[in-house]
């Protein structure tokens, strides 16, 4: 897949899946460098938008899924170069809703070498029952080591157990070294 223009960027990778969305369904769409400050600003925007109109528990879960997904990008997104310009920690986030659910989609560059590992892990989480997810979370909390980036390896596990819905993920290969990782969490309303 190639970019048809500099301004379209990452959104191209997910555009096909979301052509059915209407403007009123979209709470937030953002593409750019996901720093800690940007993460706080985006989660704050959605929190403000949903406060008063959304059930407290639903709002908390959407907020939590956003924090964990965006911190993943902040910590793990590979740098990426386009026409000679480096884009460190670039990512995409789309929050959309319908009557039944919220969907939080994130996208970022990963090394193609890591695709299998990520797929295996997410596939495994999708096949675990709630008790096994709790056990895995507790085990990882006890035995896991904080990565140099400050992650505890707990984000995906917690998203799965808090939302109770299958994690949706796919990869678009850009070239031998780089792939685009698309990750969607679903939160029931």
């Amino acid at each position: 897949m190639s970019f048809s223009g500099e301004s379209k960027g990452f959104i191209n990778y997910i555009y096909d899946r979301y052509t059915h969305l209407q403007i009123k369904d979209i709470c937030l769409v953002f593409e750019g460098q996901i720093t800690h400050q940007v993460m706080k600003a985006l989660t704050g925007l959605v929190e403000e938008q949903l406060d008063e109109v959304e059930d407290d528990m639903v709002l908390r879960r959407v907020y939590h899924v956003m924090v964990e997904s965006l911190q993943n990008i902040n910590r793990h997104a590979e740098s990426y170069e386009y026409r000679g310009h480096p884009y460190p920690g670039m990512g995409l986030v789309l929050v959309a809703k319908n009557k039944e659910r919220f969907r939080v989609t994130t996208g970022n560059i990963v090394e193609t070498a890591h695709v299998e590992e990520i797929s295996m892990f997410l596939g495994k989480l999708n096949n675990l029952d709630p008790d096994s997810l709790d056990d895995l979370y507790k085990k990882q909390m006890r035995e896991g080591i904080l990565s140099p980036q400050g992650g505890a390896g707990l984000g995906f596990i917690d998203i799965k157990r808090k939302t109770g819905n299958p994690l949706d993920y796919s990869f678009v290969k850009i070239d031998d070294e780089t792939s685009f990782f698309i990750f969607t969490s679903t939160i029931a309303r």
Partner: protein, 126 residues
């Protein structure tokens, strides 16, 4: 020992560790950019406190939100208390949650299962 007080920010909780005032509390939101950076002084302080603690220590968690990286550091704090209990110290963890926040209540129950320290669960209105 000297009290440790950290003011609340938009991504980190307020911390009060005051032996003289017998007040031990972490409250607010916890999603700091660097969890180790934030929690290391807390762990260090408790490591010192443990050597000469008050006759009874009631430690209050009054969190509105914490991310998964913080959950690991909260466990590290609780492990210090577990070791203090093993050393014969009188410790009580007060876990406060909003009555509407099932996930926070569940998190408290989960820590209680993992750690051998007396817990008191309190749910309250905003």
């Amino acid at each position: 020992m000297e009290a440790l007080r950290i003011a609340q920010t938009d991504d980190s909780p307020e911390v009060i560790l005051d032996q003289e005032g017998n007040h031990f509390e972490i409250s607010g939101k916890s999603l700091p950019e660097d969890v180790m950076d934030f929690y290391q002084p807390v762990l260090d302080w408790l490591g010192e406190y443990r050597k000469n603690p008050n006759p009874k220590t009631v430690f209050t968690f009054n969190l509105l939100y914490f991310n998964t990286a913080s959950s690991k550091l909260i466990l590290d704090i609780l492990i210090i208390f577990e070791e203090m209990v093993e050393e014969g110290q009188d410790i009580l963890i007060r876990w406060l949650s909003l009555s509407s926040d099932e996930d926070m209540q569940e998190a408290g129950r989960e820590y209680e299962e993992m750690i051998d320290v007396p817990f008191e669960h309190v749910s309250h209105e905003p």
